[in-house]
């Protein structure tokens, strides 16, 4: 037995009283807490290092700003939430009990002002009569206007937790998916045995442990396996697992959620235990693990007992006290009172006595003669109180003494600086309930256990209510063996170590109060993190919130970042008592993922900033960059918007020049982004008949045709040209926006509506670089590029011709005589890898003709000048009739949308239909989105007759022009309407004109 006084490190860390099984005392790490320089060792958590210095006070509570200490030794910690690190890596609300110590760690307490020891808002405790359950609802109601300006900022300042970093997170996060036969969650005795059994069978096993070290309670308890310290067997088991090639052990990996189909969410804290991640290393990694079977061995969480002032720093969970003693070699106090309702809690007295801590009293709630308390007390030389309770705790920033009420009601004041309490263990069943199962209450162990399990899952060990180590080992091994066998891997059970028998003998103890509602003297906390007291629960029940779901929301119980891991069962027990029901009748709330806080950064992974969405780059992108193009996003595509030249002052100047180049000479534009679908099969023509409104069967080979698609509800869906390259071979183009949608639509029509048709589709959007070459000189330029054996004359290759050609001396290509601009124009497609080379060749060969590239802006101006509909016109609310294409709808065949398009409302002449608009004053700006009203009408919705869909300055017309939809539009040519733009606050008079502003006869097109 090594006492505190004899330990060599006593000076620096006075409470480091023994050698913990997970701490390397040969090395010292330095850290600061609230600026104070402290030390610890590798293997420590921040909490164990603080306790080694005798520091319990770690933070202030959420609502009342009560001084709070370290309650637990694990992820269930509700109190010791701290800020870690500085600057951009500052991270609030980190649990000191899971934060691994590293050299140079900077930690700060939070939720205190000006200091942890003196907190100005501590007086909230004095105002507790107004801060009780539902205080938000009652106090901050009126006047409503006060909420945003007065109440909310004040509440946030007073009640906030830590401060997030002000700068962007400099670390990176990864996402990964993996698959296994058997996922084992937790590496305590049951989990290790399950992994060993499944692993030796040859199954692909992943063992996830959220702690930095495997072992679970085997590290926390003073116990032997096969006569040696349990931690030795843990090391051996891990060696055995490491030797199995199909087994992966992941530490610092928390399985936080169970999802459908055997999918599990796992957060791996890759570099949280380092000051800064290594070069190229992720800070955290979000795993999706798809497992055929899952063995849940997540252990149990100890419950506090509810008694007055049970939140004082120095009041700890009994099991946590043992963890600090056995794993970290730290005594959390010098004089301890152990308060328990079960034999497991009594172990604490033995462990404390072994390291020289004085056990001032053992308070056992069970009556005289039950449990092993009397024997343990004798062995530890401690006074023993059977059938007794803790009535109060004295001291505010640390425990000074406790008031014990013995079985006869006699009060005893006992000096101590540590209270180790155990209300018994609650199986950690969160993963079993994520899909909606409500757990069952077992009276014999005073705890909820899993009920219906998700497919493929089994629960073993303490998580299943099995608290005996030998039994947990056996159950784990059998579950691992069975899970592997169900995946087709059979083998005998592994040899399991011999464990010492241990008794539990729990008798229900949730609170030590004389009636829940009557508890007036001293706050008795149920939920430490959200500051919910026993009185709040009594009050809520008194006010009618007796449903467990209502209680939770009204008191905020269990709604803090710890999800009420230490508080839920106690709260249910209290609610059951005040509402005179059993705990089973009271029921429990649903637990939802994640079981532990998961940073948004981890969920986002690499998808942030410029990587939020992928970018698609047309084949000429690099070339356009080199030309100094300005780019715009078209969905995921990055497209050149315009190509500025030296001396051009504004983008408008550039676009005007590009438009003029096309109208007067020749320009080219990358139109690869348009969807391209290759359609082949004997039924291809018949299929096109059914998806387009117009006729296709008579389209000859070597010709293209414009087509319009409707949705089945009769509204316009998409348009484009489709060319017939061979007898049974077509290539369809779609709009850029609908490329994926049209592909899915064609597959749907084929596979679901007409599976008997012999036709196949494949998207070739990314296979072909397609460049539009437009302008009166376009043929002259193409003549230099298309190989001479192909006749490009108007007679041989007229408007809407399409064929395979070769270019640049034998390179395969496809040439289409299509025009979006209304000029003599072509689209030339070459394999995508030659797109940039084609652009360069066009520039070179076109130079004598004044060629220039043009971007999407000029493309838009050109098509508006020609009245061609695009995305703004095909907006999902317009019909073929609205677009002026009503007569395209064939009456001699069935096609998608045919029947519903005939509904009278869809062809009502009063519907807004496509018109052109030109302001009376050429320089009056027209803007898309503006409303069209009769001149002189009040700007009301009732007077609204339509809208502008697309507008541009037309250098060709020398005026602003627009396309829009106007009620009875076709009959109103020549009329002047008022164009209201409420955003700009303007009203402009514009004349209704034909939507075709340039070359209405189409002579240029056919030239």
């Amino acid at each position: 037995m090594s006492g505190a006084a004899s330990h060599p490190k006593a000076g620096a860390q006075p409470m480091r009283v023994a050698n913990g099984n997970a701490v390397d005392t040969s090395r010292t790490l330095h850290f600061t807490f609230d600026g104070r320089r402290l030390s610890g060792h590798p293997g420590d958590t921040l909490a164990s290092a603080l306790l080694a210095h005798g520091i319990h006070l770690a933070g202030r509570s959420f609502k009342y700003h009560r001084p709070r200490g370290i309650l637990s030794a694990g992820p269930e910690e509700p109190n010791a939430l701290v800020e870690l690190r500085d600057g951009a890596r500052r991270e609030p609300n980190t649990r000191a009990t899971v934060a691994e110590l590293f050299d140079g760690l900077v930690a700060r307490s939070q939720n205190r002002w000006p200091s942890l020891a003196f907190d100005a808002l501590g007086m909230n405790g004095l105002l507790s009569s107004v801060l009780g359950a539902g205080f938000y609802y009652k106090t901050f109601m009126w006047p409503a206007s006060f909420w945003e300006k007065v109440y909310e900022p004040a509440i946030r300042r007073a009640a906030g937790l830590g401060r997030a970093a002000d700068e962007a997170d400099p670390d990176h996060y990864e996402k990964a998916t993996t698959f296994c036969d058997v996922l084992v969650v937790g590496s305590g005795p049951a989990g290790l045995a399950a992994a060993l059994a499944a692993g030796r069978a040859g199954a692909r096993v992943i063992l996830c442990e959220e702690d930095s070290l495997p072992g679970g309670r085997l590290r926390a308890e003073h116990m032997t396996l096969d006569g040696a310290p349990a931690a030795d067997w843990v090391a051996k088991a891990c060696q055995a697992l490491a030797a199995m090639p199909e087994v992966t052990v992941m530490t610092r990996a928390c399985v936080f959620g169970t999802y459908d189909g055997g999918t599990y969410g796992v957060l791996e804290r890759v570099a949280d235990h380092k000051p800064v991640p290594a070069e190229g290393e992720a800070r955290q990694r979000l795993w999706r693990i798809v497992a055929r079977r899952c063995v849940v061995a997540t252990g149990a969480i100890e419950r506090p007992v509810v008694f007055p002032n049970n939140d004082r720093p120095g009041v700890m969970l009994a099991g946590a006290v043992r963890t600090y003693v056995n794993r970290f070699g730290v005594a959390p106090g010098r004089r301890a009172v152990v308060y328990t309702c079960n034999d497991d809690g009594l172990r604490t007295a033995r462990d404390l006595a072994r390291v020289g801590v004085k056990v001032a009293a053992i308070v056992d709630s069970r009556p005289e003669g039950t449990g092993a308390g009397a024997q343990v007390a004798r062995d530890c030389g401690a006074p023993f109180f059977a059938g007794a309770s803790l009535a109060d705790v004295y001291g505010s920033k640390g425990v000074k003494s406790v008031l014990v009420r013995d079985h006869a009601g006699q009060a005893h004041n006992i000096a101590c600086d540590l209270v180790a309490m155990s209300g018994g263990w609650s199986p950690n069943i969160a993963l079993t309930t994520h899909q909606g199962a409500r757990p069952d209450y077992r009276e014999d162990i005073c705890a909820f256990v899993p009920s219906a399990l998700p497919p493929g899952m089994v629960v073993v060990g303490a998580a299943a209510g099995v608290f005996d180590t030998a039994e947990a080992l056996g159950q784990g091994a059998q579950a691992g063996q069975a899970a592997a066998a169900l995946c087709g891997f059979e083998t005998a059970l592994p040899d399991l170590p011999r464990a010492e028998p241990a008794s539990y003998g729990i008798q229900a103890l949730f609170h030590a109060l004389k009636g829940v509602a009557a508890a007036k003297k001293g706050k008795a906390f149920v939920d430490f993190q959200n500051d919910v007291t026993a009185r709040d629960i009594g009050l809520a029940a008194h006010e009618g919130f007796v449903s467990v779901e209502h209680l939770k929301r009204y008191t905020t119980l269990g709604m803090a970042t710890d999800q009420g891991k230490t508080s839920n069962v106690n709260a249910l027990a209290l609610l059951a008592e005040v509402s005179e029901r059993s705990i089973a009748q009271t029921g429990t709330t649903l637990i939802r993922p994640p079981t532990q806080p998961v940073a948004i950064g981890a969920l986002a992974g690499a998808h942030r900033g410029p990587h939020f969405k992928p970018e698609r780059l047309p084949p000429t992108h690099q070339w356009a960059m080199a030309q100094g193009a300005v780019f715009t996003a078209n969905g995921l595509w990055q497209r050149a918007q315009w190509y500025p030249r030296a001396g051009e002052q504004t983008w408008q100047e550039t676009v005007n020049r590009e438009v003029r180049t096309v109208r007067e000479a020749v320009g080219f534009c990358d139109v690869t982004t348009l969807g391209k679908i290759d359609i082949q099969g004997p039924d291809a023509a018949e299929f096109l008949e059914r998806v387009y409104v117009n006729a296709w069967k008579k389209l000859p080979v070597g010709r293209a045709r414009y087509g319009l698609m409707l949705r089945e509800d009769g509204f316009a869906y998409d348009d484009g040209t489709t060319a017939r390259l061979g007898e049974n071979h077509y290539v369809m183009t779609t709009t850029t926006a609908n490329a994926g949608g049209v592909m899915a639509h064609l597959e749907f029509c084929h596979q679901w509506l007409w599976p008997e048709m012999d036709v196949q589709f494949i998207s070739v959007t990314d296979e072909w670089a397609q460049i539009a070459v437009a302008g009166p000189k376009s043929r002259d330029v193409l003549r230099q590029i298309v190989d001479p054996e192909y006749d490009l004359s108007n007679e041989a290759f007229g408007y809407m011709a399409a064929r395979s050609v070769t270019v640049c001396g034998g390179q395969e290509a496809r040439l289409f005589r299509l025009s979006f601009s209304g000029e003599l124009a072509y689209e030339l497609a070459v394999p995508a890898r030659y797109g940039a080379a084609l652009a360069e060749r066009l520039m070179q060969m076109g130079a004598p003709y004044g060629i220039a590239p043009y971007g999407t802006e000029a493309l838009g101006v050109l098509r508006i000048e020609k009245g061609h509909p695009a995305g703004p016109e095909l907006n999902g609310q317009t019909t073929a009739h609205d677009l002026g294409m009503g007569r395209m709808l064939s009456t001699r065949k069935d096609f998608i949308g045919r029947v519903m398009a005939q509904r009278p409302a869809l062809t009502d002449p009063a519907r807004p239909t496509l018109v052109g608009l030109q302001p009376l004053c050429a320089t009056d700006t027209l803007a898309a989105g503006a409303h069209l009203l009769p001149q002189g009408a009040l700007a009301t919705a009732a007077a609204d007759q339509g809208w502008i869909s697309s507008a541009a300055w037309s250098p060709t017309v020398g005026s602003w022009i627009a396309l829009g939809f106007l009620a009875n539009g076709a009959t109103r040519l020549g009329e002047v309407v008022a164009v209201h733009n409420p955003l700009a606050g303007t009203v402009v008079n514009a004349r209704v004109v034909s939507p075709v502003f340039v070359d209405p006869e189409g002579e240029r097109l056919h030239g």
Binding site: V290, Q435, M743, F748, H750, Q751, P755, V899, R903
Partner: protein
């Protein structure tokens, strides 16, 4: 959630898109608003949304591009059956003939 595509095997939800009720039927090509407006309204607008087993169309767009008929319990996401829509459709038209 995962779906077992009859062509690709078990795949994650992110590869699929949902369309909806697989029980609606496109009326015959020779029907019109005059002869059967109700059938067209049902087909275009009316969808069952049961709490329980549901037959629904999914698209394996980030896979083999198959349309699938999935039988799923909408309360639990339990998937009982996944079949190629083309096979279901072929049986359907075969049965009707």
């Amino acid at each position: 959630m995962r779906l077992t595509c009859p062509f690709c095997g078990s795949r994650g939800l992110e590869e699929f898109t949902y369309r909806g009720d697989a029980l609606v039927r496109r009326p015959a090509a020779d029907t019109s608003l005059q002869t059967d407006a109700q059938a067209w309204t049902d087909y275009v607008y009316l969808r069952d949304n049961p709490a329980g087993l549901h037959s629904e169309l999914w698209y394996h767009g980030v896979g083999c591009r198959s349309w699938l008929v999935v039988t799923r319990d909408t309360r639990t996401h339990r998937v009982d059956d996944v079949r190629a829509a083309s096979a279901v459709a072929a049986e359907r038209s075969g049965g009707a003939a």
